[in-house]
Symmetry: C2
């Protein structure tokens, strides 16, 4: 049982610090010193481990994307019927681990900055395509092909909007409530796909 390398420990500390610091100050306003302070480290250390501020931000987003993927896979494992599989995709977005004020804030910052940072834009494109593909696949048993793209778009927009609003709200979001609402919306869309 090899002890965890210092490198891995620092990476995790600094990414956690980035999440907290970005929530507090925003992507653009946050400084290396802010982040380092949040992680109990120093600015040059960030350069040492991540190379640059930009790469730190990208690695932090990659971390969030991994969490999302893990939540999805966990729910997939427990899903037996086609409906459960669709709901797994929808509810994964509101897993307790993900749907937190800090992460909602970070996603909002991500959305605002992706158009102006190629590295972030790439991550965003990949993630969005992945979610779309999952949704499409799980919608297939329920929605006729000519309506599928619309239903997917409505679902995806709705989910993003919920995240966005959670980032604005002063009260912390309730993941269980969000899941219930999302489930209801998904079921509604299955029952009656909008023309």
């Amino acid at each position: 049982m090899g002890r965890r390398k210092i490198r891995d420990i620092r990476h995790e500390e600094l990414i956690e610090g980035t999440i907290r610091a970005v929530q507090a100050k925003g992507f653009a306003a946050v400084t290396m010193a802010d982040i380092a302070h949040e992680a109990g480290s120093t600015a040059p250390s960030i350069t040492y481990y991540f190379g640059s501020k930009d790469r730190l931000m990208e690695d932090t987003m990659r971390h969030l994307l991994r969490l999302l993927r893990a939540a999805l896979l966990a729910r997939y494992r427990a899903a037996l019927t086609p409906e459960e599989r669709l709901l797994a995709v929808v509810e994964a977005n509101f897993a307790d681990r993900l749907f937190t004020p800090a992460q909602c804030a970070l996603w909002t910052q991500f959305w605002a900055n992706a158009p102006h940072a190629p590295g972030l834009a790439r991550l965003h494109r990949i993630n969005r395509a992945r979610v779309a593909s999952h949704l499409d696949h799980e919608l297939a048993p329920f929605v006729a092909p000519e309506h599928r793209a619309t239903v997917r778009h409505v679902l995806q927009s709705y989910m993003d909007g919920v995240w966005l609003e959670a980032a604005q709200s002063s009260t912390p979001p309730n993941a269980a409530t969000a899941r219930a609402e999302a489930r209801a919306v998904a079921r509604l869309l299955l029952a009656r796909p909008p023309a």
Copy 2:
């Protein structure tokens, strides 16, 4: 017919320049010089007319909020039935004048920055409350009180999400398509409010 004051002309030019410059570079990265250049002016001129960068940003957002309000009122005027009034609120968000790449980008920047700028936060709070109140009012004839908050939340999240996605997309959004989809979503929610 008094000629328009230079002051008003410059205000408009600079706000238009801000919209274009922010779309290109983002709220935080954009410089006074960028904006001035976009408007065919100079940085000190902005200080002269707006006092500071922050106030320019706030005035620009106020301008967008005015456009939204105008779109809403215009559609209200033509709405005769309760259903038409509800659809007026929904469709106003996707009016041709509003649902443009530049404005979608600006709203995204606005959402990301509101939590960290008191002036923007105030605008955001006021606008959100106003839209919520309109929606609530127009939903009343269709949705039982115990479901109304949920339906409103779903609609509002969906609409925000559509804007968000439009800001990311490389192809310019189609306002007519967005209106049709939003109309379908609204009708679906009226027919079967989610539990």
